[in-house]
């Protein structure tokens, strides 16, 4: 494997085998050094400073004493010589004292090389990144979103067991999947490029708005992302193995759309990546690898559809403004995509940064580099473009994260390239990370605003029973929180305007709970219903409308 990696890795300052082979061996280097003094003193004893080996006494260099110098008396005029000839003897020069300190052997490269120390540094940095991600998710809190509540009362093959965990449990599980996805993303990027790019990619991904949101959202989106990340990692991991090894990734890729339908958009990307990641090692075999992956994934998806039907909701059209959706997507993922494009351009121009020119090794050709850069960057646009085309902005703030998962390796490479060889400009990396962090935090804070339903639930608790019919704007939330007291069928979704008026006139609902800033016309001065309470959200600046609850008089 190591030899293969040396040949086949796209690593920038290659793996350690790369330089070890190209660099003059250590012994050679030592021989080139000038030899002076006692060779023994250079070894283990150099740390003893001026202490002479074996003497046990400190050695202090001395001026030659008078006994060692023989001078003639100075000229007094009594000599017969015409000129003064001094008498002297040439003294043998003292052997040079040992140097006090000798620079230790300098490795040809620092931590970016895959030795065990650098691997542990990477793991430590990744752990910090994951801790930050967990913190960013945990700062989001509140009652269930309507979609979460709907998920938590569902009983699908995948969703049922998760729903059993309740809101807190399902959210914690989501975070676990999200952290796992980040770790796998690091692994995949490290295999495709190098550990530095891997860490930068994980750091960029961990602070994204969609990452923090998904990690605190009781749904299967997070699982779906984890499955995609696992498939990506397996593609990278098996890039040098036989084409059949790619089949390992197929089940993960095939399962992802059944967790969240939006993952289906990324199966073509994975197929392309199956080819592109393998091409260097297997030649035409790479296409076999891609075909195998596509066929296996397709077959598994087909079986899944036969067993569980098509996931619903994937093609619901709506009338949201396409421009607005693209604008929002740009706000949520623009920074990462921009850095990814920079990374891709840099990658296309130059396969490696050239930190260790002697360890260049072989690198993919320009065409393959271009295709990889293009595939990864373009994938980030899939969900925004698709949903803009549908005009359906539903959960787009989550779906952008799916595409960014594939663009982020390039973004990691971009950060690594912008920081330059040997971390020449670390401030650029820090700047990008801080910008992404702040933007992500602000956006998540704005988006993660679940309805403040606690007071509403508390008020309804007094009036609901097992028989009543209830009209509400959030039937999912009530059905979830009152799953012990009521049946989901007792909760009906309130209409708007004329539909609401008709529903109110029917007079068949025992309680009407609406989220409305003002009293709807139908309920103003209504002789059948009495306003029980107006419950304002505890966060007054949150922009949420108060709950208004009417009961039968």
């Amino acid at each position: 494997m190591t030899t293969q990696q040396q040949d086949g890795s796209w690593s920038e300052p290659g793996s350690q085998q790369d330089w070890q082979q190209h660099y003059p061996p250590y012994t050679e280097q030592q021989q080139q050094q000038p030899v002076h003094g006692d060779q023994q003193a250079y070894g283990d004893h150099q740390a003893y400073g001026y202490q002479q080996p074996y003497t046990g006494q400190p050695y202090i260099p001395q001026q030659p004493n008078p006994a060692q110098q023989r001078y003639t008396r100075p000229y007094t005029g009594g000599s017969d010589a015409e000129y003064y000839v001094p008498e002297y003897t040439v003294v043998e020069p003292e052997p040079e004292p040992e140097p006090g300190y000798v620079l230790p052997e300098v490795p040809v490269s620092a931590w970016a090389v895959d030795n065990s120390r650098s691997a542990w540094i990477s793991r430590g940095a990744l752990l910090l990144i994951l801790l930050v991600q967990a913190g960013l998710s945990f700062r989001l809190d509140g009652s269930a979103f309507p979609q979460e509540a709907k998920f938590l009362v569902s009983d699908g093959a995948l969703s049922g067991p998760v729903a059993q965990l309740g809101l807190a449990g399902a959210r914690a599980l989501s975070l676990a999947w999200a952290l796992g996805a980040t770790a796998l993303l690091f692994g995949a990027t490290r295999l495709l490029f190098n550990a530095r790019a891997g860490l930068a990619a994980a750091a960029m991904y961990s602070v994204l708005e969609s990452t923090a949101f998904t990690g605190r959202y009781a749904s299967l989106h997070s699982l779906s992302l984890f499955l995609l990340a696992a498939a990506l990692w397996l593609l990278a991991r098996t890039r040098q193995s036989g084409p059949a090894a790619v089949l390992l990734a197929a089940p993960f890729a095939a399962l992802a759309p059944f967790a969240a339908y939006s993952a289906a958009l990324y199966l073509p990307t994975l197929t392309v990546l199956a080819v592109l990641t393998a091409y260097r090692f297997r030649g035409a075999g790479a296409f076999v690898r891609g075909a195998l992956f596509a066929v296996a994934t397709g077959a598994l998806c087909f079986v899944g559809v036969l067993l569980h039907g098509t996931p619903s909701g994937w093609n619901v059209q709506s009338d949201d403004s396409a421009v607005e959706l693209l604008k929002e997507s740009a706000q949520w993922g623009g920074v990462v995509l921009l850095v990814a494009v920079i990374g891709a351009v840099g990658f296309i121009r130059r396969a490696r940064m050239g930190e260790m020119p002697w360890a260049e090794g072989s690198a993919p050709g320009a065409v393959r580099r271009s295709l990889l850069g293009l595939t990864m960057c373009a994938t980030a646009l899939l969900a925004p473009l698709y949903q803009a085309w549908l005009g359906n902005g539903s959960s787009l703030y989550i779906h952008v994260g799916f595409g960014l998962l594939f663009a982020v390796p390039m973004a990691g490479l971009g950060v690594s390239r912008m920081m330059g060889a040997h971390f020449r400009y670390p401030q650029i990396g820090i700047m990008i990370y801080v910008a992404a962090l702040v933007i992500g935090m602000a956006q998540t804070g704005g988006l993660y605003r679940p309805p403040d339903s606690a007071a509403m639930v508390g008020a309804l608790r007094e009036v609901v029973d097992t028989k009543g019919a209830y009209l509400t704007d959030d039937p999912e939330i009530s059905a979830y929180y009152f799953r012990a007291q009521t049946k989901p069928a007792q909760w009906h979704r309130a209409g708007q305007g004329a539909a609401l008026t008709a529903e109110v006139k029917k007079d068949s609902y025992d309680v009407i709970a609406l989220r409305a800033d003002s009293v709807p016309e139908a309920l103003r001065g209504n002789a059948d219903y009495r306003l029980l309470a107006v419950l304002r959200p505890s966060d007054k600046d949150g922009g949420q409308e108060p709950y208004r609850i009417w009961v039968k008089r």
Binding site: M1, T2, D114, S116, A119, R123, L126, L127, L130, L131, A134, F138, D141, G142, S143, A144, L167, A168, G169, R171, A172, L175, A176, L179, G180, A183, L184, F186, G187, W233, R237, S453, A454, A455, M456, V457, G458, A459, R461, E462, I477, Y481, F482, A484, Q485, S518, V519, R524, G525, N526, A527, R530, L531, L532, A533, V534, L535, R536, P546, R548
Partner: protein, 335 residues
């Protein structure tokens, strides 16, 4: 090689463990707590305790309200305590008057509620006229008032523009039409609903029709959706009617034609004189016997006549004897 391949797995496992630890801490969902909370009334804090006061149980109480209007109350409860000592029973409805433009007496409302009773406010729109109220130009004031009521979160009975069928107040028949009155009433009610001041009992309070027979009440009626109680203002005077039926009957028969809301004798007293003791007896008997009448509010302030019950020892003795009946007075429910 193995080390490299297990790295992502290792990280995932570590994060899982970390999350499992944190998940326990972050596991409190306020809404789930609210759904499980034992029914309100227990002293538990938590989201359930933040629910606004529900006046429903106060609308048709099992016993009769015993109310009183006193000088100085409810800003201070001393007059109420003194009155309670005089008659031997603590009133559970304390009347007060609030001119349009004045703020809501939140402290008074809390004082009274803290003492087991409920504040009754006669809201008197002397200025700027009901048409101004109806057209929305007074909304800022109404909203402020309503918000103050809502924040007080104790039950309050509000009687807007009482004795609207008389000609003696600026909002009466002389200067205002019934349509404007109804429009203003509904508008105020709507603003209160908008603000969410649901802790109000709305009392529509005409004067007894006896002195103003020509004025029909129905045009002044805002509708069942806008009114909780019918209040009747009717004093026992030396020259007027002297039975419960003749004093309140004609008014009630008109009202019965358009609503069956509970009736409160919202302002009454008896003029000092020979008949006072009999008047007191008739009032108590009438209130107690009539199932639709939910109580009375005694005007115990000297104004034009000395309406204070303690000014007539014999009548006071009768008052004391009758009010001792367990049917009169009760503690207003705490939540």
């Amino acid at each position: 090689m193995i080390r490299k391949s297990v790295l992502p797995l290792c990280a995932a496992l570590m994060s899982l463990a970390a999350v499992a630890g944190c998940g326990v801490l972050g596991g409190d969902d306020p809404a789930a707590q609210a759904a499980k909370e034992p029914s309100a009334g227990s002293a538990s804090k938590g989201p359930g305790a933040e629910l606004p006061y529900d006046v429903k149980p106060l609308l048709h109480p099992g016993k009769e309200y015993f109310g009183v209007a006193l000088d100085g109350a409810p800003s201070s409860l001393k007059p109420v305590d003194a009155f309670a000592k005089t008659v031997g029973k603590k009133p559970n409805l304390v009347g007060s008057y609030s001119s349009w433009g004045n703020g809501f007496n939140a402290v008074g409302a809390q004082n009274v509620f803290g003492d087991g009773g409920m504040l009754y406010v006669s809201w008197e729109p002397f200025k700027p006229g009901l048409d101004k109220i109806a057209d929305g130009s007074q909304d800022a004031y109404i909203k402020k008032y309503a918000d103050s009521v809502r924040k007080t979160d104790v039950p309050v009975a509000i009687s807007f523009g009482h004795e609207m069928n008389g000609h003696w107040y600026p909002w009466g028949t002389k200067d205002t039409t019934p349509e404007t009155f109804v429009k203003a009433w509904r508008h105020i009610h709507d603003v209160f609903q908008q603000v969410g001041a649901t802790n109000v009992i709305w009392v529509w309070s005409p004067n007894v029709v006896n002195p103003v027979r020509s004025v029909k009440l129905e045009p002044y009626w805002p509708g069942d959706a806008y009114v909780d109680w019918v209040g009747i203002v009717g004093y026992w005077t030396r020259t007027g009617a002297h039975t419960f039926d003749t004093l309140y009957g004609p008014t009630r028969s008109q009202i019965d034609a358009f609503t069956d809301k509970p009736v409160l004798i919202s302002e009454t007293s008896s003029e000092p004189g020979e008949r006072r003791r009999a008047d007191v007896r008739a009032l108590f008997a009438g209130v107690k016997e009539d199932k639709d009448v939910i109580g009375f509010l005694w005007f115990n302030i000297p104004k034009r006549a000395d309406w204070r019950i303690q000014s007539s020892p014999l009548a006071l003795a009768e008052f004391k004897r009758l009010i001792a009946d367990d049917d009169f007075g009760f503690e207003v429910p705490r939540s």
